[in-house]
């Protein structure tokens, strides 16, 4: 039998192989054009996942696991002949226990759908990447995604208690537990978190959940220069206020957001800081006032605060869509956006942001800046036309300078979007700057223990 028939025998009604059905799986949200998969398989059960992987392993066929396909680094597309395994049919929230602070979910559950269910019980699952409407549990686990609430809650790794994961040879591992603690040997759960689908296919997860913030208020503070904004964030954190989110956008990003009609900023300034504070209803006003005073003292030229839910929701949606909105500012359809995703200790932000400003001018690139500034994460969105070799050279040089800047200030070349195809070189650069190339060798050895034939998501993370 052929591949299609063999896979269909395992997943009846769950195999796609005509060209027009495969095309949508050849792209994710990155600028990379992947190879057309040889087939797409959509399992419903762990058993089907296991049998498909075993079949592919036996026949030496590569497999790329895919959730929402929102990767910004090309992590969820095939670089070579491969079967794409979409986990979207595994979309059940199996149980929620507020008492145990745990939700058991299948890998294909989308984050916003999960949070909608949790919110009815007064709970949230905090990791909330800008893509949470589409990103899946399996996807955010495998990219160790961050998001708008990281400054308070940390990244995905802090919220995963246990996993069910299937190896390329078909064996099913149950790692960690549904309990808040479990010390059961090496922490393989954490190893799989952030492994970008190169070690195992995640089918289920035990997620830690937490009560929803009681009430939230939002301040928008406008700044004339980026250093003041960086200083203001540092001052807020030093004051003991623990913001729920601390996001910033530059003028170009604000223009892009406004051009989509989702939000209009009241003040026109080069930079805006978006800060959320939470607490009991009666304390919010006080906290907003305290934050506003600190922001004012640190150079904010305009401050607007709100507790209006609709307005906050619109702004939140606008910020979440900032990246996509930027695409409206492309000069032509050939333009793509390459994202520098660095992180630095928040105390270095003023210096790093100033340096980035200098690099933009020196390298002559068109860049929009925004990011989760509360935890020192800066997204530099660089416009590039790949058919213009001179521009490509400038962009590559800027991207490298940006990474070097992060490393010089004790930061990292990749904060949350992962390595995928895009940042393989930068990953090498980071470990070599730490004289720790051996760490990469260890990672590769681990990969070969999980997947001896190297068939799971090849061409990602390492070359």
């Amino acid at each position: 039998m052929g591949l299609h028939e063999d896979l269909t025998a395992i997943v009846p009604d769950g195999v796609l192989s005509s060209r027009e059905e495969l095309i949508p799986y050849s792209r994710d949200a990155s600028h990379f054009q992947g190879k057309l998969p040889v087939a797409v398989v959509l399992p419903r059960t762990t058993e089907q996942v296991s049998r498909v992987l075993k079949y592919c392993n036996d026949h030496s066929i590569s497999v790329v696991a895919r959730g929402g396909g929102t990767s910004l680094t090309g992590a969820s597309i095939a670089v070579d002949n491969a079967v794409v395994m979409s986990l979207l049919r595994m979309d059940s929230v199996l149980s929620i226990s507020v008492e145990d602070r745990c939700a058991e979910v299948e890998a294909g559950v989308r984050i916003d759908n999960l949070n909608l269910k949790l919110s009815k019980l007064g709970q949230i699952f905090p990791p909330d990447p800008g893509s949470s409407i589409a990103a899946t549990v399996g996807g955010i686990i495998n990219t160790n995604a961050g998001g708008l609430h990281c400054v308070r809650y940390g990244t995905t790794k802090d919220w995963i208690l246990g996993l069910e994961a299937v190896l390329m040879d078909g064996s099913v591992l149950r790692l960690g537990n549904r309990t808040l603690k479990s010390r059961i040997g090496y922490d393989l759960t954490s190893l799989i978190v952030g492994s970008e689908g190169t070690l195992a296919v995640v089918t289920r997860a035990f997620l830690k959940i937490v009560s929803k913030p009681e009430d939230v208020g939002r301040v928008l503070a406008f700044f004339m220069d980026i250093e003041s904004l960086g200083r203001a964030v540092a001052a807020i954190k030093a004051s003991g206020i623990e913001p729920l989110t601390a996001e910033y956008m530059d003028r170009m990003t604000m223009d892009a957001v406004e051009s989509t009609g989702t939000f209009k900023f009241e003040v026109r300034a080069p930079y805006v800081l978006l800060l959320d504070v939470d607490g009991p209803g009666e304390a919010i006003g006080r906290r907003l006032a305290a934050a506003s005073v600190i922001l004012g003292e640190n150079g904010a030229t305009g401050i607007v605060s709100t507790r209006d839910r609709d307005e906050m929701e619109r702004l939140y949606t606008a910020r979440k869509g900032a990246y996509s909105s930027l695409l409206k500012l492309r000069k032509s359809e050939r333009d793509v956006v390459v994202i520098g995703d660095i992180v630095v200790p928040p105390s270095s932000l003023p210096a790093v942001l100033r340096r980035i400003g200098e690099l933009v001018l020196a390298d002559g690139v068109r860049v929009a800046l925004f990011g989760h500034i509360g935890d020192g994460n800066i997204h530099a969105n660089i416009f590039v036309d790949f058919s213009d070799s001179a521009e490509m050279g400038r962009v590559e040089s800027f991207h490298t300078h940006l990474a070097e800047t992060a490393l010089e200030h004790g930061g990292s070349v990749s904060a949350e979007h992962g390595i995928g195809i895009e940042k393989i070189g930068l990953l090498r650069m980071e470990y070599s700057s730490r004289h720790s190339e051996k760490a990469l060798d260890i990672m590769k050895s681990m990969k070969s223990l999980f997947d001896p034939k190297g068939l799971l998501n090849p061409g990602k993370v390492f070359d």
Partner: protein
């Protein structure tokens, strides 16, 4: 490149594959998560269709992707780049229709029926049976335009399964015969569901009664009232639609109409948003009947209802809240999580060509409506009504409103 192809390229070209739209597109889960039946896939395939056409290759292989789109515009609500995968699909269907490639046989049959009989089914006198005894004048400045939508509902279910055929290949054979011998459609009354016919006639009478009690004077074209062409427009037959819209407009003018009262969201949307683009000088005032009913004319009852807002009301018309406002006057209204501009399609538009996808969409929506907690489901569209009914109880808003109209109004 035709102007439609140009617009298609422009719309699809703005997409950056973020995948947000896919997460809200009702046809994606209902197709078993086949991305080519989801919003992002459609946008990608829109570009692919143009490339294939430019290379002189066939394009019919893309048909299922675009014809299975519900035109519900859920995708547009979440796309940060303002791309509308529904419009992409619509334009792709227009490209297919204009090139004569990939258009399903059933779709061609619908075009033929509408152009020939000015309806999907030649209804004859049955179209106006609801108005018998109401003595509505045949001409006047304000015209009640039913667009035959309520009347057609009594044929929709049996007719759909007839045309789809029971056995394998039967559907094709039946549609083929009707395409060759269109008069066969005159047999359609055999497929009429009397019970639904009666219920739909009641809805129309209720609407007419309420308008009358509000003092609105109106005329009605009766048996000769043409269907507005909705399905032909949706299926992408742009040039036939242009010609047909002029014909319908002429019929409205013949009755001396200046203001047109619509009763269903599809006709309302079409007349409000599409006709002015198709017919030069289309200057009628178009109002939905609920906009002419005063909230003060109604009193609160004890009903607790889940309200299904039709896509063509909640998303195609700016701030269209008249039905919801009236409903809140007469009943305790429970809204599902997907409401307002985020409403969820009932699946109706896929009923004819992709019944399995339609079924999945309807089930998903009915589940949401049940979870909302109302004791019964209410909607304001005959298409939604019949679709939701496949999965549970549902009633038309007019039946509830008429019961709660003040006796003195």
């Amino acid at each position: 490149m035709s102007s439609t192809e140009q617009r298609l390229l422009e719309e699809a070209g703005r997409c950056i594959n973020c995948g947000f739209c896919e997460a809200v597109c009702p046809t994606l889960p209902s197709s078993g998560y086949n991305s080519s039946r989801g919003a992002r896939g459609r946008v990608m395939l829109g570009r692919e269709l143009l490339d294939s056409a430019a290379r002189g290759e066939g394009i019919s292989q893309f048909a299922d992707s675009f014809f299975s789109c519900l035109d519900c515009y859920a995708c547009l609500q979440v796309c940060p780049a303002g791309v509308n995968a529904g419009r992409v699909s619509h334009m792709a269907r227009e490209v297919m229709a204009s090139r004569g490639e990939g258009v399903p046989q059933l779709a061609r049959l619908m075009e033929k029926m509408i152009m020939r009989y000015h309806s999907i089914v030649p209804l004859g006198r049955r179209a106006s049976a609801w108005a018998k005894g109401l003595n509505i004048p045949a001409a006047g400045e304000t015209l009640l335009y039913t667009g035959q939508m309520y009347q057609l509902m009594s044929y929709s279910s049996a007719m759909t399964s007839f045309l789809q055929g029971r056995g394998k290949g039967m559907g094709r054979a039946i549609v083929g015969s009707v395409l060759r011998l269109p008069w066969l459609m005159r047999l359609a009354p055999l497929l009429n569901d009397r019970e639904i016919e009666g219920e739909m006639a009641n809805s129309l009478r209720n609407i007419a009664t309420m308008l009358g009690r509000e003092g609105v004077q109106f005329c009605y074209m009766g048996e000769s009232e043409p269907y507005p062409g909705t399905l032909m427009h949706d299926l992408g037959f742009a040039s036939s639609m242009k010609e047909y819209a002029s014909f319908v407009t002429g019929e409205l003018r013949k009755r001396g109409a200046k203001r047109v009262i619509t009763v269903d969201p599809h006709t309302h949307d079409l007349l409000k948003n599409t006709y002015p683009q198709l017919v030069e000088g289309f200057d009628f005032e178009v109002v939905h009947y609920t906009e002419l009913l005063h909230p003060e004319s109604f009193i609160m009852g004890s009903d607790e209802v889940s309200f299904h807002e039709p896509c063509h009301m909640a998303r195609r018309l700016d701030d269209f809240s008249a039905p919801a406002r009236l409903l809140e006057r007469v009943a305790k209204v429970r809204l599902p999580d997907s409401s307002g501009r985020k409403t969820h399609c009932c699946g109706g538009p896929d009923e004819l060509l992709y019944p399995d996808i339609a079924g999945g969409v309807t089930r998903a929506r009915m589940k949401q409506l049940r979870e909302a907690g109302g004791k019964q489901t209410v909607t304001a569209c005959p298409v939604c009504l019949l679709n939701l009914r496949r999965e549970g109880e549902a009633m038309d808003i007019s039946s509830l409103l008429v019961r709660r109209m003040r006796p003195d109004s």
